[in-house]
């Protein structure tokens, strides 16, 4: 990826850039895109407003950069969860759920934000970067669905549409995360492990009492 030989100048520039990103991320995530002003971002990052423009060409560019980071992380997580060679389906799903929940606690509203604004963004001219939420989700679901596909072929799960399954599973995970952050006063605090386990268990086994017992 990076053939960069690194230089102090550049490292510092990168660091400052990341500082701006962090400030913007935190504000965008908690207040949404439009409710956040560049003034605020600047103040939060401890820079002048003009300085932001030395690092990002526009507010939208900044937003895109943040989305890109978050998308990358989600894709990495999905990839590593689903392609692990030494784990079964249940473990893979658990790893994914656990990772997403952890990630979501750190970046509470990013999914929402990305979705909400995703389609009103002008297309990203920037080279190889992710275009939009739909692209990312398509990749995520595709990765998950392959695991289901294998299970179906081995007749371990019912022969349902694997993409639909991937989407529904992801939906449970995602909505749980969202609700947890948003409605923390309603939802009982539970350990991430327990929650991930619950979701996987419901998805694989259902909630009906096991008739075989």
């Amino acid at each position: 990826m990076s053939s960069a030989p690194l230089s102090r100048k550049e490292r510092e520039k990168l660091a400052r850039q990341e500082e701006i990103l962090a400030a913007a991320r935190s504000l965008f995530l908690s207040k949404g895109y439009h409710e956040t002003t560049l003034e605020e971002i600047a103040r939060h990052a401890e820079f002048g407003k003009g300085t932001i423009y030395n690092y990002f060409s526009s507010k939208e560019d900044l937003f895109r950069a943040i989305n890109h980071q978050l998308f990358e992380r989600l894709l990495d997580l999905t990839q590593s969860s689903m392609t692990a060679t030494d784990s079964n389906c249940r473990d893979k799903l658990f790893h994914y759920a656990h990772g997403v929940i952890t990630h979501a606690r750190e970046n509470s509203e990013w999914i929402l934000m990305a979705m909400q604004r995703g389609h009103s963004l002008k297309p990203d001219e920037g080279k190889q970067s992710m275009k939009n939420f739909a692209d990312v989700m398509q990749k995520v679901w595709s990765l998950i669905s392959r695991v289901f596909q294998v299970e179906i072929e081995n007749q371990r799960i019912r022969a349902l549409d694997p993409i639909a399954l991937a989407m529904l599973f992801d939906g449970m995970v995602r909505t749980y995360c969202f609700n947890h952050v948003k409605f923390s006063h309603i939802i009982k605090e539970t350990e991430i492990e327990q929650t991930a386990e619950l979701i996987v268990s419901i998805f694989l086994d259902g909630i009906a009492v096991d008739k075989t017992n």
Copy 2:
């Protein structure tokens, strides 16, 4: 609820108000709050911009009124689904899922919109109206959870936290709806009945092949 004896004047006023609401709803839902201007709403409703202010005190007020309508509908649906005396748990869940999916197709992004902006709204001074998304969801989950509670008492489903179950079930339904509208190019077109059935089936039975067969 309404002891109003109705008068033409008032009926017409109501009708015009509903026309404005419809125009605003359609625009907010497809473009989001900030991307929609009052000018557009007025044009869409075939009124002058100033006229809007004879019916709603501000853009935010208009938004709140729309949210209120949508919240009411969701609550009614949940209530009627969950308290039907002549249906079992599976039927109740199916009815709910079916209703939400139908509603979501008509009002594609309302959930997202409500969530996204919900918390940045100033508190609603208006009498008995719903305050925010959290309140509504709490009621919805509470209604659903009671059904689960009964099933648990009768040992027909596993003894898990009923609120968590309600939330996860709702999460599957809701995310499915959202994805369907948003990523229709990815998701296979299916009948509402089939989808609702699939979700209920996964939730109650899981996707694992039934060992009793």
